[in-house]
Symmetry: C2
Subunit: 188 residues, 2 copies
DNA sequence: AACCTAACCGGAGAAGTCTCCGTTTACAAG
DNA sequence: CTTGTAAACGGAGACTTCTCCGGTTAGGTT
């Protein structure tokens, strides 16, 4: 029952774009590690206060930088072609595996950003979407298990921290996950 | 082949204790969230520089605050009585389960500290010990699997973030882990 | 006891995140 | 075009984490 939010004012929209642009540019130039919001504000030609009003805090900005690709990713498993998306052609096991593989690639693709985002320590809305999706598949795939918890278990190791900092390559992670899913699936 | 470190000077030792004391006290008073090292230094009656030389950085201090209990915990699974510790009386499956349960309790016990520590984002030496221990047990329990990766998978969901922030109680987590281990174990 | 020096001390200050609030601006209504 | 006002602006400054370095001290040596 929320009333609909008032439309964004033109100066606000303009500044939001300037900020995102500046952030992307600085990211490409200096790397993610030393992306200071002060600097972003300066490069965008706005005050720091503006950055914070637009994006709430550091992780809000990082989330915005991740958003476009994330939206494409979510579309691909929510409404794209099988085996990632729904549609008769894929079993639950195939979809789980495809989803986990895609998520590994997804995180690797923007690993520096995910790394910073994880440091901020709050659960993000992308996480919720991934979790819900996976839980639904797991409820079908592993009957009798606590699907919500199991989804958290499978998502937990897929963080940039583990993927970047512990020396796993993506092939090994994918193989490990495949093996895990195979063992979890009841054999008939 | 490191030469042995020179013994700690008496003023350094005294200050280290004062800092730990002050940190523990402030932790009890104001909670972990707002534990600033500046304040710790002031409460301990030393300069900030001293805190940083002693402990390296924020997470170094947090690690020191965790250290005593962690040492007891490690003793209990490395050389304590079964099923947690070694000794003929427990199967690998029992030891894995016992270890995971104990680790859930261990983290819950100092969850606020672990939460802050995880934010710092580096893998800690306790993690390495837990990981090695678990990997050895899993190599026996789940032959043919990538035991090191599997150990990371099982440890990943056991973080304060998940345990505190997602509304699981310890009973549910333990039950979920038990079920998971059961499903992973090859049936004869 | 006086001396030497490696190790330690402490606080000023750099750099970053985020807040507060007085000023400015977009835009809808008259 | 004027006016009213809700929203947006921006930068000073509070608060952190962490570094740097000139001054101090513990404790072995002579």
């Amino acid at each position: 029952m929320l009333g609909q939010a008032p439309p964004e004012r033109s100066d606000a929209a303009r500044n939001r774009l300037k900020i995102i642009d500046a952030a992307v540019r600085l990211l490409a130039e200096h790397g993610a590690e030393q992306l200071s919001l002060d600097e972003v504000a300066r490069a965008a030609g706005v005050g720091v206060g503006t950055v914070y009003r637009r994006f709430g805090d550091r992780s809000g900005l990082l989330l915005a930088l991740i958003d476009e690709r994330e939206r494409r990713f979510q579309e691909s498993f929510l409404s794209g072609p099988p085996p990632l998306g729904p549609g008769g052609g894929a079993s639950a096991a195939e979809r789980v595996t495809a989803f986990l593989h895609a998520l590994v690639d997804r995180i690797t693709e923007q690993e520096k950003l995910f790394l910073l985002l994880e440091r901020s320590g709050r659960y993000t809305s992308p996480y919720s979407v991934h979790h819900t999706h996976l839980a639904v598949l797991l409820a079908e795939l592993v009957p009798g298990a606590d699907a919500h918890f199991l989804a958290d278990v499978l998502l937990a190791p897929l963080n940039a921290n583990l993927l970047c900092l512990r020396g796993y390559d993506t092939a090994r992670v994918k193989a490990g996950l495949d093996d895990l899913v195979r063992r979890l699936t009841p054999r008939g």
